[in-house]
Symmetry: C2
Subunit: 106 residues, 2 copies
DNA sequence: TTGATAGGCAAGTGGTGACTTGCCTATGGT
DNA sequence: ACCATAGGCAAGTCACCACTTGCCTATCAA
């Protein structure tokens, strides 16, 4: 749902992870950790990145595939298309761009 | 900058406000309050909506124009285009889609 | 089978953000 | 001049989220 998508995009570290996956798809957790450190000098723990990946996966932006002791993470840009059809081109996708399920009771 | 944009989109109430402005552009604060109440049964205070509008304006998603005692709010979808060029079509906009300024030191 | 690598689970902490409350300013009608 | 309307400012509360720490599981190589 939309809530998960935008929450996932709200964190700059998660956006960087998406950038990394655009540049090189199918990386493991440790690869991503290493890249964030060397490219941006990020001193985040492995668990921090792992939790970020879980959030991205929950939003459908990342799909993971396990092979032996490795877990490869792949980008999925399909959820991002919904942002476009909601506000940029609301006439596409059969009229409504607003997702009626995008709501939470407080 | 990107940080403000995604933070602005992270809240469901703010996304609803954008939906309202897509449907009818140039509304005042009280008009938006009324619409959110009648259409979604939202019991938010005027100040809450006012603060949301300030965040949206800080992100460049809303532009306001004052006329007498009225302040009209208009939608600006230009910042949303950058989301598309960053991950969906990174080859547009002269190569890089990643905004190097999208980073905060912790 | 031991050790190293790749990853997961769970509880705790600090900071940030959404919302409220109370009071203040400004414009316009009568 | 008065009052109602439209909006702003500032402080306080509360819940959530990012991150850490500590420990545990699984796969592979020697």
């Amino acid at each position: 749902m939309a809530e998960d998508l935008f929450k996932a995009l709200a964190d700059p570290t998660r956006r960087r992870i998406l950038d990394e996956l655009v540049e090189r798809d199918g990386q493991t957790l440790f690869e991503i950790c290493g890249r964030l450190v060397t490219k941006y000098g990020l001193g985040l723990s492995r668990q921090a990145i792992s939790q970020h990946l879980a959030v991205l996966e929950g939003a459908g932006l990342v799909v993971s595939r396990r092979e032996g002791r490795y877990k490869f993470h792949e980008l999925n840009t399909e959820p991002l298309e919904r942002i476009v059809t909601r506000w940029l081109r609301p006439d596409a996708q059969g009229e409504t761009g607003a997702d009626s399920s995008d709501w939470r009771v407080r």
